[in-house]
């Protein structure tokens, strides 16, 4: 978002973030050197293939996952210090929605109890104020009051997702991080939840980060996007220009893989079909991580790892060729 005031610190600023897991089979470099700046008020999408480190990155940003290296600042404060000094204050400001909404809710609690729990933990309001807040929350996510007495398991996938969003909003956070909040939903319901996020973001001035599989939806609602590959950022920038003119060959292939729902557009469309699967984060290839599948790989790519550099769409990409091209353009 361009109209953010200079003085305002970004909602998220991660530097040199690494998360490595020691396993029996060797070191897994799930996140391997990520720099990420997300301004306040952004609606940021993180995309990439399964296993590229999206969940691990999101968890590391909010301290659910210990980072091997690197720092994270949230709203201008060092995240680790903030959590140490004021755990509850941090929890009020930053909320996380898990990939599996059911897994994060108690089997026995009703929706009402699920929503009230954070208010009780943070000693917010008296009984009637809390009741009032629950009504507001249901209103925000467009659920009828009748769901309060039901248990989350008995709700549809979309309703459950609304409950988990309402719970995350209970404490009025300024930052909401959601791991695949759409993947488990049916298409028509997915649109409802996407529109709900967009509305909440505008209405409450939230910063929202979503990890998502559905690129077309990211293009539709996210103001900015980060494309990850094997634990690193391949490309990032403002969503529409990135989608219109992707600089990184991996982004190009990823977008090309998304079919058009219109067969008249789909049938004649040239497609980039990538060979094989991404390599394992146990032993990423030397040089550029995408070099084993890149259709335009050059000898230098297998030796030198490309760093993020400004590219034509005014975002950044980590590709030797993309950087060269953008220098020619600029």
């Amino acid at each position: 978002m361009t109209d953010v005031k200079q003085a305002d610190p970004p909602a998220i600023e991660a530097q040199g973030l690494k998360v490595h897991f020691q396993t029996a089979a060797g070191l897994v470099r799930a996140v391997d050197g990520v720099d990420l700046t997300i301004p306040k008020g952004a609606f940021h999408g993180i995309v990439g293939e399964s296993g590229c480190g999206k969940t691990t990155l999101a968890r590391a940003i909010i301290g659910l996952q210990h980072a091997t290296e690197g720092t994270v600042q949230i709203n201008g404060r060092d995240r680790a210090d903030w959590q140490k000094q004021d755990r509850k204050g941090f929890a009020r400001a930053v909320q996380f929605i898990f990939q599996d909404p059911l897994g994060s809710m108690s089997r026995r609690q009703t929706v009402g109890q699920t929503l009230e729990e954070p208010l009780l933990i943070h000693s917010i309001g008296n009984a009637s104020e809390r009741k009032q807040r629950l009504a507001e929350l249901l209103d925000l996510v467009a659920l009828p009051a009748t769901v309060l007495d039901r248990i989350p398991r008995s709700l549809s996938g979309g309703q459950r997702q609304r409950v988990s969003i309402a719970r995350a909003l209970a404490l009025n956070p300024s930052l909401l991080i959601c791991d695949e909040p759409l993947s488990a939903l049916d298409v028509s319901v997915r649109a409802q939840i996407v529109n709900l996020f967009a509305r909440l973001q505008a209405q409450l001035g939230l910063t929202i980060v979503i990890v998502a599989h559905d690129l077309a939806i990211v293009r539709e609602v996210c103001s900015e996007v980060t494309v990850m590959y094997l634990g690193r950022v391949a490309e990032q920038g403002v969503t529409k220009p990135v989608f219109a003119d992707p600089a990184h060959p991996y982004t190009q292939a990823l977008l090309s893989a998304v079919p058009s729902p219109d067969p008249r557009i789909e049938a004649p469309r040239p497609r980039i079909l990538l060979a094989g699967d991404p390599p394992s984060p146990r032993n990423p290839p030397p040089g550029c991580r995408f070099s084993t599948r890149c259709p335009v790989v050059e000898p230098q790519c297998r030796v030198t790892e490309p760093q993020l550099r400004p590219v034509a769409h005014s975002g950044q990409a980590a590709c030797h060729l993309a950087a060269a091209e953008s220098h020619a353009v600029i």
């Binding site: 298409v187 319901v189 077309a216 893989a257 729902p261 557009i265 699967d277």
Partner: protein, 335 residues
């Protein structure tokens, strides 16, 4: 058009569990011919799987099933077959790709021998020939280094590789009909594109009939010749992929397509939502099942069940179960 190899008519499927009874499929007919891909589209629970695999005797476990209608494979009535005859038919005539590869592959056995034994059993090959066939099926399914993968266990392969191995397994018996039940739902976009391309190549080369079950409009657009849109166990609309995806008539089809953004199209509307959720199939009301969510609903919709009417003639008729839109837009019908 070729004569259908698999044809189902007036199928009604009731499922009974100790606590509920569900009308999973309610009067659906479909057919598929050699060399053709039929896509069955609908949201989860709409009855796609039960409608397609039910007549083959593949039903959810622990559920009592009441199935009525007719189902023919190559003209032969399959609903009267004994379980063992049905099982033989499933292995040889029908190849099935499931959403979850682990439900088809035995985790305790190496990949290659599983393929070889299928090929031996149904394609009548010798042990030696079956091994060769298995390696070539792996290669054909896009698995690199198939000789090495032959001796791997399922857990040693990635999700995309496993899906390819299952496609190889489904092809081992040289089926006439390939049924793919959400074959790419669990996969990444890049791998999805590979798998769809693979299915298309196989179909072109072998001229088999393919039934693609999916909720992914993109996959339909890539593969399908014809499309059936299922809503709460009933067919809402059917026709060619072009008819249904680019000139939909039924309010549900229109809503579904409007909820799917297309970043390549200037005219696409983004993410319009259909309000509400699909009905509970254990408590169905009379009338149109989409009535609670429909923006065109009229009083009669709640009492009269709409029947499929032909709105477009041609090799493949375009049929729609919504008299309201047909009347409101002055669409000419042909039945």
């Amino acid at each position: 058009m070729n004569a259908p190899v698999y044809a189902v008519e007036n199928l009604v499927i009731d499922l009974y569990t100790p606590s509920v009874s569900v009308r999973a499929v309610d009067g659906a007919s479909f057919h598929v011919s050699p060399g053709e891909t039929l896509a069955i589209v609908g949201e989860s629970g709409s009855g796609k799987t039960v409608m397609t695999l039910g007549p083959l005797g593949l039903m959810p476990e622990g559920v009592a099933v009441d199935l009525r209608g007719t189902a023919r494979a190559d003209g032969r009535d399959i609903l009267t077959l004994s379980p063992s005859e049905l099982s033989a038919l499933r292995g040889g005539f029908f190849g099935v790709i499931f959403q979850d590869p682990m439900s088809a592959l035995n985790p305790m056995l190496k990949i290659g021998p599983q393929l070889a034994s299928q090929a031996q059993k149904y394609a009548g090959l010798s042990a030696e020939a079956a091994r060769k066939e298995a390696v070539s099926l792996l290669a054909r399914s896009g698995i690199p280094d198939p000789e090495d993968r032959y001796d791997r266990y399922p857990h040693e392969l990635s999700g995309g590789m496993l899906q390819r191995a299952m496609i190889a397994l489904a092809l081992a018996a040289r089926p006439r009909v390939l049924i793919a039940d959400e074959p790419t739902t669990a996969l990444d976009a890049t791998v999805q594109a590979q798998i769809l391309a693979l299915i298309r190549t196989i179909q072109k080369e072998d001229g088999i009939a393919v039934v693609l079950i999916t909720h992914d409009i993109g996959a339909v657009s890539v593969l399908a010749d014809r499309v059936i849109v299922l809503y709460a166990g009933q067919i809402a609309e059917e026709g060619t992929a072009i008819q249904v995806l680019t000139a939909p008539v039924h309010p549900y089809t229109r809503g579904l397509l409007a909820s799917v953004p297309d970043f390549r199209s200037e005219s696409a509307t983004g993410t319009k939502e259909i309000p509400g959720i699909p009905p509970n199939q254990a408590q169905l009301m009379p009338g149109c099942r989409f009535a609670d969510r429909c923006d065109m609903v009229q009083a009669t919709c709640h009492s009269h069940r709409p029947r499929l009417q032909t709105v477009g003639l041609g090799d493949v008729p375009h049929r729609v179960a919504c008299p309201v839109v047909i009347a409101a837009e002055g669409i000419v019908t042909h039945d």
